[in-house]
């Protein structure tokens, strides 16, 4: 759900207010980079794509009629960029090479192993399941927003989230049982 102040930022940015667009960048940089990084399989590529997506958004902001839909519109641009470069389609299995930001705390070694396994399993998901699941899980996206961002109908979006979670659960059952 988009916050009321974000609608105001979008309206101001449409009028050419750079600071308002800066606030939007601040708001969506992290989730967009995380999503693209995980889909592209490489952090740097994710950041490059995010930068390009924001540039496209800034240039074409006047074409956005409904400020409420900014988030969906931005992610749709990012997805189109990802697919146009072909990175998203060939990134399967590369995800495990994304290095962590910092060295892991010494007492979190076991946790790190579990997280690595989760990252590997997510990386091995087919792209159409991966992109929707990562988007669904990271923020309060509704199925209709997901469908719009990814160019699907709502029932397909529901089915893909269902399937992605089912596959992951099947593969990580033992680890989740240990965790519980």
């Amino acid at each position: 759900m988009i916050a009321p102040e974000e609608i105001d930022w979008v309206n101001r940015a449409k009028l050419g207010d750079r600071d308002a667009f800066g606030l939007l960048v601040q708001q969506y940089w992290q989730p967009l980079c995380a999503w693209l990084g995980r889909l592209a399989g490489h952090r740097q590529q994710g950041e490059d794509l995010a930068q390009e997506a924001f540039l496209k958004a800034w240039v074409n902001l006047s074409q956005l009629h409904e400020p409420r839909a900014f988030r969906v519109w931005l992610f749709r641009i990012a997805r189109r960029l990802l697919h146009s470069t072909g990175i998203g389609d060939r990134s399967q299995g590369l995800l495990r090479h994304i290095p962590a930001d910092q060295p892991p705390p010494a007492d979190c070694i076991v946790e790190k192993e579990g997280t690595n396994r989760l990252a590997e399993e997510i990386a091995s998901l087919p792209t159409h399941y991966r992109e929707i699941y990562l988007l669904w899980v990271q923020d309060e996206w509704t199925f209709s927003e997901l469908a719009e961002a990814l160019g699907l109908n709502e029932a397909t979006a529901r089915w893909r989230v269902h399937k992605a979670r089912q596959i992951l659960l099947e593969r990580l059952k033992d680890w989740l049982a240990q965790e519980s």
């Binding site: 750079r18 960048v25 990252a119 979670r165």
Partner: protein, 423 residues
């Protein structure tokens, strides 16, 4: 009552059980396997969220400005495109052929002329002069911080001054690398300056203060010289240069004008291992009690161990070994000798032993990693463990190692048992 398979299909499509209808929640209370599925799904989502949050990335400094500039029509083809657009608009209004041809020719000539007269904005020419062979910040910080436990007041003052110099150099290096780290580096520079270098400077005798000032001035001057070499900086680089200039001026003014006032900085949590080490080392200045000092050194040792693992995982063996040396120093000079001092003052306190065991566990973590790690990371870990062996022995109470053969002739020094027989 619905059956389990229908309930499960619903569970796979919802985020939390709070979203569910009361009838389904009632079913969950009665059915253990469905409840477990809901719990596992929740856990799975939580871990995935954490995975995405770990993927931290800050907005590059000046990105919006850069986007705005990129979106402006500054290049020659764009200017030409605007002129053509204007010409087409004009043509649509007046459909006569000779007008059309005339307008096309005019716009072509104008386009060429404007493109030639209005030069595109010059690109910043950035050349990296500075310091090309410097050590990474993490290693340099670990080196200085691990040596803080030994030496005189002057030595400690110099260590903090060197930390200041490393942070200043790193900030200057970052001007060429995107300027994104400069606000954090400036923050830690100021903290080290006011809490470490400056406060210890006041406690130095007058003649040492004179020398300290001379050395500090050399560092500031070299920083300013490097900043002056950047001839055509971009907007983000201009901002960064301004920030570093202010930072240096603040420290210089505090000495020349005898300013002692420290405007409290907004508390920033350390986010990188180097920042954590600096944060911990500043805590050393606030405590005189040997047990507290040992505790803080234990914290320092934890951060160094994490860094060793990180370095060896990324196959940086030399740096892992160098960190191993720092780890050794922290174990011997920081933890073990402070604990010995504390035990002399108040013997037989259980927390001393607890701390000793706690620190020993850090060496075990390194060893466990050596056994589990892949061949690429093993080399660095092995070297780090080798160089930190003395510190481990010291913690176990083995005392200092035997001196080398050449030193045995020293007066009153014992030879190891069985040495003569071996000869």
């Amino acid at each position: 009552m619905r059956n389990c398979s229908a309930i499960r299909a619903i569970l796979y499509e919802c985020r939390t059980t709070d979203e569910l209808a009361p009838a389904i929640r009632e079913h969950l209370q009665g059915c253990a396997s469905c409840r477990q599925l809901a719990r596992w799904l929740h856990k799975l989502d939580q871990h995935t969220q954490m995975l995405l949050r770990n993927h931290r990335s800050s907005v590059p400094l000046g990105l919006v400005e850069c986007l705005h500039r990129t979106a402006q029509p500054t290049s020659k083809p764009s200017r030409l495109a605007i002129l053509l657009k204007l010409a087409i608009g004009f043509m649509e209004k007046s459909l006569r052929l000779h007008w059309l041809i005339g307008a096309a020719c005019l716009s072509f000539v104008l386009g060429l002329a404007l493109g030639w007269i209005i030069k595109p904005e010059p690109q910043a020419t950035v050349q990296v002069h500075f310091p090309e062979h410097g050590k990474p910040l993490l290693i340099a910080v670990a080196r200085h911080v691990s040596e803080l436990s030994q030496g005189t007041l002057w030595d400690r003052h110099r260590k903090f001054a060197l930390l200041n110099r490393e942070l200043q150099n790193e900030a200057i290096r970052n001007i060429f690398g995107g300027c994104d780290q400069i606000p954090q580096l400036a923050y830690w520079y100021r903290r080290v300056w006011w809490e470490g270098t400056r406060s210890l400077y006041d406690r130095l005798p007058a003649e040492e203060q004179h020398l300290a000032q001379k050395l500090l001035r050399q560092d500031w001057d070299s920083g300013r010289r490097e900043l002056a070499k950047i001839t055509t900086p971009t907007l983000a680089q201009q901002e960064a240069i301004g920030l570093i200039g202010t930072m240096l001026a603040e420290s210089e003014d505090s000495l020349t004008q005898q300013k002692k006032a420290f405007h409290p900085l907004a508390q920033l949590e350390p986010s990188t291992p180097a920042e954590r080490m600096i944060h911990t080392s500043l805590a050393l200045l606030r405590h005189e009690d040997p047990y507290q000092q040992a505790l803080i050194h234990n914290e320092l040792a934890k951060t160094i161990v994490q860094s060793i693992i990180f370095m060896s995982d990324s196959a940086q063996h030399e740096q892992a070994a160098e960190l191993g040396e720092c780890f050794n120093l922290v174990l011997t000079q920081g933890v073990a000798s402070n604990l010995d001092k504390a035990e002399k003052e108040t013997p037989q306190r259980p927390e001393f032993n607890e701390l000793r065991q706690n620190t020993l566990q850090l060496t075990q973590i390194l060893e466990r990693h050596l056994q589990q790690g892949n061949s690429a990371s093993q080399k660095g870990l092995q070297r780090a463990i080798e160089v930190s062996r003395q510190g481990r022995g010291r913690l176990l109470g083995k005392g200092p190692a035997w001196k080398k053969f050449d030193d045995w002739s020293e007066k009153g020094f014992k030879r190891p048992p069985g040495w003569e027989k071996k000869q």
